[in-house]
Every structure is written in C-alpha cells, then in structure tokens.
C-alpha cells in the first residue's frame, strides 16, 4: 500500500501531475521524431538548433512573452545564422555551425545576465517541467496530435528518402521538401519541449530514446513505437526521481532519458557477449 501511495502521490499534486502529463505528451512525440532525426543524421543540427535558440528564449523572457514564441524565433534565427555561416566551403559546415552556436549561446548568456532579465537563466538552460503553464500543456498536446499526424502522413515518403534519395525522387517524392518538413517538425518540437527540458537538455528527449531501442527493433514502426514508449517512461521516471531525491526536474528527466540510451546499448552488448560465449 505504501508503494502504491508513493507511486500515486505525484499524480495527486497539481504541479507534478502537470509535469507528468507534459513529459508524456512530449516524450510520445519526440521519441517518434527521434527515429527520423537519427535516420537522416540530423542529431548534430538538432543539437545546434536547440542550443542556438537561447537568445530567442532570453529575449522572450525579457519581453514577457511566452517562451514558445521566443523558442520558435530563436530556432529560426539559429537556423538562418547556421545556414549563412555554413556557406563558406573553406571552413566547412560542421566548424561554422560549432562556432556559430557557441556564439549564439554566448549572446544568450550575456542577455540573460543583464540586470533587467528575470532570474530565469537556469530554467532557460535546464528547463523545469514543474513550472509548465496551461499554455505549455496545450502546446504539448497540439504538438503530440498535429505533429504525430504529420509523422503518420509523412511516414512513407520519409522511409523512401531515408533509404535512397535518388530512388525516392524517381518515385515522385521530393527529398529536399521531405527533409525540410522533418526539420520544420524538429524546430517546432524543440521550441515546445524547451520549456520542460531547457535549451541544453532538450535534445535528450529527441535522440536518446531511439538510441535506446534501435538495436533491439527491426522495423521503422517498431522502433518509433518503442522509442515513444521509452521516452514517456523515462520522462515519468525522471519526475518521480526528482520527487524522491529532490533533484532538478528537467535535469532528472534528461538524465533518465540518457540512462535508457546507455542501458539499451549495454543490453545489446551483453546479449552479444552471451551469444559469443555460447558458441
């Protein structure tokens, strides 16, 4: 009975219940999106966009507008700056992205440390699912429904382009448009999820669940479903861990997500060792 009470306890508190709903909604969508982000090898651009949106978030905090607005604006500015900086072939897109994103983080830090800024830098960097508003929950719900619908509709084009862009083009697909649609979904997901996990940790919700399950599944649909489930469970586990240990909720969720990735890899490694030993 004590265990049941302990498990139900966070759901009785309004603040933690909202946090749990937030991580379940975000986990469900980001877990699914992560399969495509990793399949299209967009993890590094995703991290760049997530970190580069910090100035937008700080400006939103300064102006007193919803962080979602700042997140979307920040992602767009980061994407634009990264795209422009990456045009010089002598430097290379990876290097220019790294320098640009570090610069954007610096600008975000400077803005956040000015006396006029509300004392929310930690929330912007590391998020706080315990502080989500009704608007944030609504945004997460819309993202889960509309974004999930978009992923379902785009499933076959994404599969064809991920396997072989040239072949997909001859089937009438437009690989560039498909990639842009995926990037658009990623940008919106980052802007919405940043409230819960912050600019530095939000990528964990997108990438870690797929890493956790990819080697244990054999189809895109199986991987997507498993990654979504793992993301939801890890999010809930993070909130519980935060409740029990009194740790920061955003960082606890991010850590739980990364732990699933490590366990997924370790599980595969152990299975391989066992099969070698039995040979």
């Amino acid at each position: 009975m004590d265990v049941l009470d302990a498990l139900l306890d966070p759901w009785r508190s309004g603040i933690e219940r909202r946090a749990l709903i937030e991580v379940i909604l975000l986990g469900g969508f980001c877990g699914a999106l992560g399969f495509w982000v990793t399949s299209f090898r967009l993890s590094y651009p995703a991290e760049s966009l997530a970190h580069g949106m910090l100035p937008g978030l700080v400006l939103a905090a300064l102006a007193g507008v919803p962080l979602l607005v700042g997140g979307v604006g920040g992602v767009l500015i980061a994407a634009l700056v990264v795209a422009v900086a990456g045009r010089d072939p002598r430097i290379g897109s990876d290097t220019s992205t790294a320098v640009t994103v570090t610069g954007l983080l610096g600008v975000g830090g400077l803005l956040a440390l000015t006396p006029e800024t509300p004392a929310r830098l930690e929330e912007l960097l590391f998020g706080n699912p315990l502080a989500v508003s009704d608007g944030d929950l609504t945004a997460a719900g819309v993202l889960a429904l509309a974004g999930g619908g978009a992923l379902v509709a785009l499933h076959r084009p994404l599969t064809a382009v991920a396997l072989d862009a040239g072949g997909a083009r001859s089937l009438g697909m437009r690989p560039t448009v498909v990639r842009l649609a995926l990037l658009g979904l990623l940008a919106v997901a980052l802007a919405v999820a940043v409230q819960g996990l912050g600019s530095l940790l939000v990528l964990a919700a997108v990438v870690a669940p797929t890493i956790a399950v990819r080697r244990h599944t054999s189809s895109p649909v199986g991987t997507i479903v498993a990654a979504s489930a793992v993301a939801c469970l890890a999010g809930v586990a993070g909130i519980y861990a935060s409740d029990v240990a009194g740790t920061a909720a955003g960082a606890s969720v991010a850590l739980a997500l990364c732990l699933t990735a490590a366990l997924g890899q370790a599980g595969r490694g152990a299975g391989r060792l066992r099969s070698r030993a039995s040979q």
Binding site: S39, A153, L154, R156, P157, T159, A160, A162, L163, D164, G166, G167, A168, R169, S170, L171, G172, M173, R214, T217, S218, S219, P220, G222, T223
Partner: protein
C-alpha cells in the same frame, strides 16, 4: 515507326558551374535498350539525373515517356536502415500518388508479386541491408517493377553482383524489353554492351551513339576511356576491351 521513349537534344548538364556533360543528342525507341559506357566521372550518372529531372538542362532538352524508374547502385542505399525487402518493393507504389496514406492491399500484393518475379519471394521479410549485393539489386528492381514505369534507368546494376543474381537480372532485362519497356543501363563492361540495341559512349560529352557493332571501334573506345582501357585484338572477332579505372561515382 515506333515512338521515341527517350530523347536528348543537344543536352548539356551542369552542377552550377561549367557543364560536366555536353553535346548529348540521341533518340531511343520504346521497347529498346541502351547501354551507357564511359569512365568514372564521364557523365553516366549525370545523364540519369538529367533524365529523372533531378538536374535541369544547362542547355538543350530531354524528354522521357512517363516518370522513369531509377535503380541506384545498392551501395548508395542506407544498409543500416531497418526496412525489409517487402518494404523496399512496396515503395514502388508511391509512384501512384496517395503518399500520405498507408499502402493498400493491392499494393502489397503487387510488391509480393514483384519479389516473386526476381526470385526473392521467400526473402520478403528479411532486412534489406542483410541481403547480398545481388539480392539487394534484385529488390530494387522489384521496386521498379511495382512502379510500373515505361522507362527504367539502371545505374551499374551488375557491379559487384554474384553470378547467379547477374543471370537472373539479365533474364529479367529480356522480359522487360519483351514487355515494351525501355531500358537504359550503365556499365563498365564493354563486352556486355554489345548485347544492347544501342550504345552511347560518354566522356564529359557524347563521344558516340549507335548500334554497338559499328559504334564500338578502337577510336571510339580510346576517345571514351583514354588511358583507362586495354584493347585486345581477338582475330576476326570483335575488339575486346578491359577497363582499368578506379571506382568513383562522383558523376
């Protein structure tokens, strides 16, 4: 007179700068086969990309009957992507439109039938990346069969393919031609080019086009491959040629 399925008129293709392929001018009848010969970087894949519409002509024009099916070299596909042979064949049904909806039962039946036609019905559920190179090539051909395109562009379909798969692919080419489909096949095998209806030799421009017998002369092959070919006299038989270039698929 049979209608032309593929026409290139004074075609030049560029990747933003100067043309990497120019002076391409040929017409191919429906139901015939064309072999594309040339060194790596000579323009074979570039011509395919122009025919699929991926690259717009820098000058001149191309026209192709319907939307051509493009069968890439299997090493250009993502072998770590978790799809089955059936999933790949089923992608051919995307050409029918309705890309936002799940595949229909009829599409699945067509994909199964296409895999049967390339003798891989029993491998339908196997992971695409786990198949041999020849089997993967046959799966990509099954995808083209589901697409039901009148024109097929095949980029070095026999490169690195086991002899059993090569034999099956050759037999399938004969069947496709008999069905009235037009085949354009790039290869490094000069001898196999003699089995096609037409041959086109490319080396950053069109060196020659025509029936293989009169076209594949010593002068044409030397212009096409430069120092990257060894020509062997074989008595009164056709000139034998062995290409010796390194593998590079940049064009």
């Amino acid at each position: 007179m049979t209608a032309a399925a593929v026409v290139a008129q004074d075609l030049a293709v560029a990747y933003g700068g100067d043309p990497v392929l120019s002076d391409v001018d040929f017409s191919l009848e429906a139901g015939s086969s064309l072999c594309l010969l040339g060194p790596n970087g000579g323009g074979k894949t570039t011509l395919f990309r122009a025919l699929t519409g991926e690259l717009a002509p820098a000058s001149g024009a191309v026209s192709v009957t319907g939307r051509p099916a493009y069968v890439a070299q299997t090493e250009r596909t993502r072998l770590d992507f978790p799809v089955s042979a059936l999933d790949v064949a089923l992608m051919g049904s995307l050409a029918n439109g309705r890309w936002w909806l799940p595949a229909r039962r009829a599409d699945r039946a067509a994909a199964q039938a296409a895999l049967g036609r390339v003798s891989l019905a029993d491998r339908a559920d196997e992971r695409f990346g786990a198949l041999s190179g020849g089997q993967r090539q046959r799966v990509l051909l099954a995808r083209a069969l589901v697409q039901d395109a009148p024109v097929l562009l095949l980029d070095e379909p026999l490169a690195g393919v086991d002899p059993a798969s090569a034999e099956q692919i050759d037999a399938l080419f004969d069947e496709l031609r008999a069905e009235g489909r037009t085949l354009l096949v790039s290869t490094h095998d000069v001898d196999s080019a003699r089995t096609f209806d037409r041959v086109i030799c490319l080396n950053e421009r069109q060196v020659a086009f025509g029936e293989p017998g009169p076209t594949l002369t010593r002068a044409v092959l030397e212009q096409t491959y430069g120092g990257e070919i060894v020509l062997l006299e074989d008595g009164d038989g056709p000139l034998r040629a062995v290409t010796v270039q390194h593998h590079d698929h940049s064009h």
